[in-house]
Amino acid sequence: MAERPSFDEYVAARSGRLLGTSYLLTRDHGLAEDLLQTALTKAWSVWARIDGDPEPYVRKVLVNTYTSWWRRRWNGEQPTGELPDSGHGDHAGPAAVAHDLWLAMGRLPRRQRAVVVLRYFEDLTEAETARVLDCSIGTVKSQTAKAFAKLRLDPALAASAEAEGR
């Protein structure tokens, strides 16, 4: 069994990547830092009990904290019913598509967003994602499918696709 690194070593080596995950989940730099520190604080308190690689545990705490965190902590994140101005005149360019995709990502339900981030940013397998989210592989599959369907139907991406097709 691999030896567990010290907490400080782990934070030095991995916090940058985990901050990226936090940001993709929260879409806010301040909240991302808050989420990461909350997860690391929880991990630190049980560090002595973690054998081997602490990464799965920390990632699990981080994602679970995100999906269950209190609403009041997240009141800076306001989903909007109307599309904000994209600022792009040309909807067909790659940058515009990425921008619209980012907007659409922001409208995904939290659990679907977490599945997408774990699968396509953390590059976890479906089984690994299921373990992080405490659910079945089937649930991961269905949440992924729902996320993609929702993204494709999102008005921002629909506009991009329409422009691409012109």
Binding site: E3, R4, G16, W70, V97, A98, L151, A161
Partner: protein
Amino acid sequence: MNTDQLRTLLHERGDVDDGLGPVARVEQVHDRMEAVRRRRRTMATAAVAVLVAAGASVVPALRHRDPGPTDAPAELAGRTVPKTQTAAGYTYDYVRGVQSRPGADDLRLAVTAVTGPKLVMWATSSDNPAPVVRLTSNVGPEHLRSAAGGFDRYMLVYPRDTAHLKLTQLQAPAGNRLALAVYELDRTPPPGVSNGVVTFRKDILDDRLAAGLIGKPGQTDLRTTMAAVHGPIRYSDLCYGAGSQDYVHVSFGGREVGASSCARQPTFDPGVDGGSFTAAQSPLPAQGPVQVHVWLTGKKSSPATGTSQAVIGFALYRLGEDTFPLAGWEIPARQESDGHEYLHSQSFQSQPGQRALTVTIPPSDVPRLVTTADSGHTGDYALTELVVDDRGAGSFEDATGGGGSWSSGYVIQPGESPTLTFRLARGTPGRTVLGIALSDQVH
């Protein structure tokens, strides 16, 4: 949109600038443990309690100042200012105060508690009709509500906190004045085992200190004997000044009961945190004398890294017998929270198998502390949450899945009538029982 576009987007956006840096982040994580200490106080599950306490010991040194009663004014806002005030066994001395002009809507004050805890008390000039005021702060409870006129209530500001306070008049006669008084910790420690920096109090409400020991700086191995203690107990360990990856271990009669991470700074009031054991669970041998061993190691039992200034110790408390049942646990009838004392007054409990318990609390004249308890889950993980009027007030993570009892730290203010929901947010319900208890503030 395809998966390649999605993956590219996530990697571009996820490559964020880590402006804080790992060193500062580690520091901030350690700071956050202070908040953890306030919110998570396990009273019944031993294993979890030890680990929570392990992360809780990050409160800076007490630097006792000389009392300054001579600079106490006779009055603020026409009220006599107490020269001293006690809170949770400690005595505090008046150091300064402010008052508003007549008729002012509010009074603001910043209180920096750098080296030790402080108390803030408040008052208004009018008695009839009794004014209603609200004290809001950025630390501790979001607000305190009071209908009292004099310096009757206080708020504890923990070490390293800077409290920005605002005292507001909600209902008050014209020309009413507001006042705030600040108190610092008296240098005389309360009765108990003390090294002049930290103290294991002799009495913590109904819990009585049965044995305690604090080593000198650099002593990394302590041994002593104590008489056998029967019945429910709680033990607290102490370790500060050691390396961040060092652990303090405690054994009774050769049986190790836990290992906790060391803190960088001394813990204020270390006896309030620790692992509790019922009489049946007690790790103590039935017959005395009991050999106690406290020692310091690095991770995985390697030699400790920071030994020259390390201070280690332990305390063992015999728990009071005045308890009440809640969701399968025995909860102390008297509790301390944020420097106040509370006495149990009311309980609510769910039917087995329910995932949530919701109750609407009628208003009362006194602040009431909310305690929750849960048991009966299946599986090895449970996350419970306390929600007050649709807003989160605390979450409790239990790595054993067996449930626990938790002092939420949430206090219902006088005149408020919130709806409380205690629910199993994660975990398998099985025969889950959920409980909510209210305790009236008596000091």
